[in-house]
């Protein structure tokens, strides 16, 4: 009962805290709210008219939504890059950043679930997925595995930070016996969510472009590049806009993670390109479409080369940083890498899986404005949620928010 009271007070304080801030903060939240409303309106259109308002069709039956979902699972998984050194390896470097990483994981997961939901033809019937009440096709369907691991990961990433913050909120030191096992599990679980999401695609022999044993490891490599890259960008923003200071050492360590992951990702990309093009078989046609276009259809080609160029530039800068031991261009490199992987692992992975179709038909896909609106809305929702979570986490960490027992 007492815990519940503390929790209520924490939520109340957090909401109050979330509504106060400098003018730039209000602008930021205002803009996000505008985009969320835009997304809600777009989704209303889609709900009333059906998925026909999207650019998807019987040939390319997944599009922008599932692309973003796939990418964001990686972002969520990457939060362990902060959790592991802090909680498990007792490397205190990251202790300040870790709550931010977990906040990012929660926001990314909520966005993932939102992207899957808006992709459903019958979201009202989504309760069929709930075990016992519905009919959960587990363990046969990889999608049912994904539902399980994503929700489990969300649960872990809500409970651990909540416990730590609740303790700090009451001026108590969190008990390691409670949160360390959870942190350990979350490390394995993070790898799990991304492997399972990769298996979702890799387990389909019908789509040769996805049916590759490299897909899982490549998902991990790209996630551990894009995720921490985003965290670096966020930490630098927090350094600039708040009084919460992240040590330069933490950033350097994160940069090392990003660099190594980006290098591995490039090696895997090279290996993939070699396999597709050295002995070009019938199964390489999707890759041909992606890199060169097929029979005059080349909608993805500019995106592919933009992604490839950004990827190489970013990895080059990061590697160079490692040699000269300076991080002058770190933010630029991280932004480049983030965008590169968003393209590569989003549309660059999902769309070619469907082109050419089962009988060689080539029908291209272009997202409609409604799809773009919903997508922007979900990203805005994620950013909004992340801002609120991190703002109260920082408030508690800095001692601004403390439980006052009024009774």
């Amino acid at each position: 009962m007492n815990q519940l009271k503390i929790f209520r007070s924490l939520v109340k304080d957090s909401i109050t805290n979330a509504m106060q801030g400098p003018r730039t903060y209000h602008w930021w939240m205002g803009i996000l709210t505008f985009f969320m409303l835009l997304g809600a309106y777009s989704y209303y259109q889609q709900l009333s008219k059906g998925l026909v308002v999207t650019g998807m069709h019987d040939n390319v039956s997944w599009g922008l939504y599932i692309s973003n979902f796939t990418f964001l699972v990686g972002v969520a998984a990457a939060s362990v890059m902060l959790v592991m050194p802090t909680y498990v390896l007792k490397d205190v470097d990251f202790s300040k950043a870790v709550l931010i990483g977990e906040g990012l994981a929660v926001a990314a997961l909520v966005m993932c679930l939102a992207f899957v939901t808006v992709d459903l033809g019958g979201p009202a019937r989504a309760w069929h997925l709930i075990p016992i009440i519905g009919l959960f096709n587990w363990p046969r369907s990889m999608l049912s595995w994904d539902v399980l691991v994503l929700n489990g990961y969300l649960f872990i990433n809500i409970t651990i930070p909540l416990y730590i913050l609740m303790s700090r909120y009451q001026n108590k030191e969190p008990n390691k016996k409670f949160y360390l096992p959870g942190a350990m599990i979350s490390v394995f679980w993070a790898v799990g969510i991304h492997m399972v999401t990769a298996f979702l695609y890799a387990g389909l022999p019908a789509r040769p472009f996805w049916n590759s044993s490299l897909l899982g490891p490549k998902f991990l490599a790209s996630a551990f590049a894009a995720g921490p890259a985003l965290i670096i960008i966020i930490l630098e923003m927090i350094n600039r806009f708040t009084s919460f200071k992240i040590e330069e050492k933490s950033l350097a360590k994160l940069a090392l993670v990003v660099t190594v992951a980006a290098q591995i990702n490039l090696i895997m990309l090279g290996s993939e390109i070699f396999k597709e093009f050295y002995t070009q078989t019938h199964h390489s046609l999707s890759a041909v479409y992606l890199y060169f276009g097929l029979h005059g259809h080349s909608g993805l080609v500019p995106w592919t080369y933009a992604s490839l160029a950004l990827n190489i530039i970013a990895t080059g800068i990061l590697t160079f940083h490692l040699i000269i031991k300076s991080y002058k261009w770190l933010t630029v490199a991280c932004i480049c890498l983030f965008v590169a992987i968003w393209i590569e692992k989003g549309m660059g992975l999902i769309i070619p899986g469907f082109i050419p179709g089962s009988w060689g038909e080539i029908v291209e896909y272009t997202p409609t404005w409604i799809e773009v609106g919903v997508t922007i809305g979900i990203w805005a929702m994620g950013a909004f949620l992340f801002t609120v979570l991190v703002k109260s986490a920082i408030g508690i960490e800095q001692g601004k928010l403390r439980f006052k027992d009024s009774v």
Binding site: K49, G50, L51, V52, T54, M56, H57, D58, S61, W62, V116, D119, L120, G121, G122, P123, A124, R125, A126, W127, H128, L129, I132, I133, G134, L135, F136, N137, R140, S141, M142, L143, S144, V147, L200, L204, P205, A206, R207, H282, L285, G353, F354, P356, G357, S358, W359, G360, E361
Partner: protein, 335 residues
């Protein structure tokens, strides 16, 4: 017939429906499931009633037909997966669907829930030598199976190949010229009703499965529209309703089956069912009947005297993408 009596209280509050809800878990394998579903249903009902919504809908929407429709739709929304339904529940949902159609259009339909017959396993063979690309099968299929006219949904694709190769990449799927075109031959594809169907594995809610007689079916009311099955199918056998399907009332085939050609809704999958409403009544699928050249052979694979068995025993047959291990029950052969 008990539809009228379902809600004797003449409202949507559902107080009269408690009895059938109790029965849901009866006589059924997964009774734990449904009793909990019943609980969920009652809980939501209670919430609605608590919020005064049910009360207001009773008084404001004074229209009896509207009330009955709402009540039927309510029961439809909370019904179980077809595969887990008892015989009684199957009959009930079929009656609800018939009544709903009558309320909406004033016309009567007949929805069947006929199950598979023992010792029947359906298979289909396609004679490449005979097919001339007339597409009569495609049109018959659309009419028989109430497919969406607005998006021109078709289960069957006819591919026009140049002589000398079977290469689907180079085949023409949308030809608008006189057939048969010289130097060309034709091949039809549709759902192959695989013995080892990847779509069934993929579905996260078990809304699609293989029946005892080998037909791969979809429960249109259980499908959540995630389209994972569509990605998993190597044969382009599945279709999605991207919008509310439109079939003019006078064109609706009123002889329907729950797992077959009954009317679908927006946001769900559908596909060829070997015309389950016909084949389970001993008739050939519409495509087989419509083919003017006799290129399509359909029958029971377990019956040694069936036409399909004769083809398999006497012709050199092959299947497509056999390397995927899906074991289609759809063969091609030549004269």
């Amino acid at each position: 017939m008990d539809q009228e009596n379902t809600c004797g209280h003449n409202c949507t509050c559902g107080s009269g429906k408690n009895a059938p809800v109790e029965d849901h878990g009866f006589n059924q394998t997964g009774d734990a499931k449904t009793s909990r579903r019943g609980a969920l249903k009652k809980l939501t009902l209670g919430l609605l009633a608590g919020g005064g919504m049910a009360a207001s809908s009773c008084s404001v929407l004074g229209d009896d037909i509207q009330k009955e429709k709402n009540s039927l739709k309510w029961d439809e929304f909370f019904k179980d997966n077809y595969r887990l339904m008892s015989k009684k529940e199957k009959n009930e949902t079929v009656k609800r669907l018939e009544r709903l159609y009558e309320l909406n259009s004033g016309k009567k339909i007949n929805v069947s829930s006929t199950g598979a017959t023992e010792n029947v396993l359906f298979g289909h063979a396609f004679n490449i030598s005979k097919c001339q690309g007339y597409m009569d099968c495609v049109n018959a299929c659309v009419e028989e199976n109430n497919q969406d006219r607005s998006s021109q949904m078709q289960y069957i694709r006819i591919h026009e190949h140049k002589n000398g190769q079977i290469n689907f990449e180079l085949a023409e799927d949308d030809y608008f010229h006189e057939v048969p075109a010289a130097g060309h031959f034709y091949m039809g594809t549709q759902c192959y009703h695989c013995e080892n169907p990847p779509c069934v594995e993929a579905c996260p809610v078990g809304a699609t499965w293989k029946e005892e007689d080998g037909i791969v079916v979809i429960d249109y009311d259980w499908c959540i529209g995630c389209r994972y099955c569509m990605a998993a199918c190597p044969y382009d056998g599945r279709r999605f309703n991207w919008q509310e399907p439109q079939v003019p009332e006078n064109e609706v085939n009123k002889d329907q089956h729950y797992l077959g050609n009954r009317l679908r809704k927006s946001g769900v999958m559908e596909k060829c069912t070997f015309c389950i409403q016909r084949s389970r009544n001993g008739k050939n699928p519409a495509c087989v009947e419509a083919c003017p050249t006799g290129a399509r052979i359909f029958g029971n694979l377990l019956d040694p005297n069936s036409d399909i068995r004769w083809v398999l025993d006497n012709k050199k047959v092959f299947r497509l993408k056999e390397d995927l291990g899906t074991e289609p029950k759809f063969w091609y052969f030549m004269d």
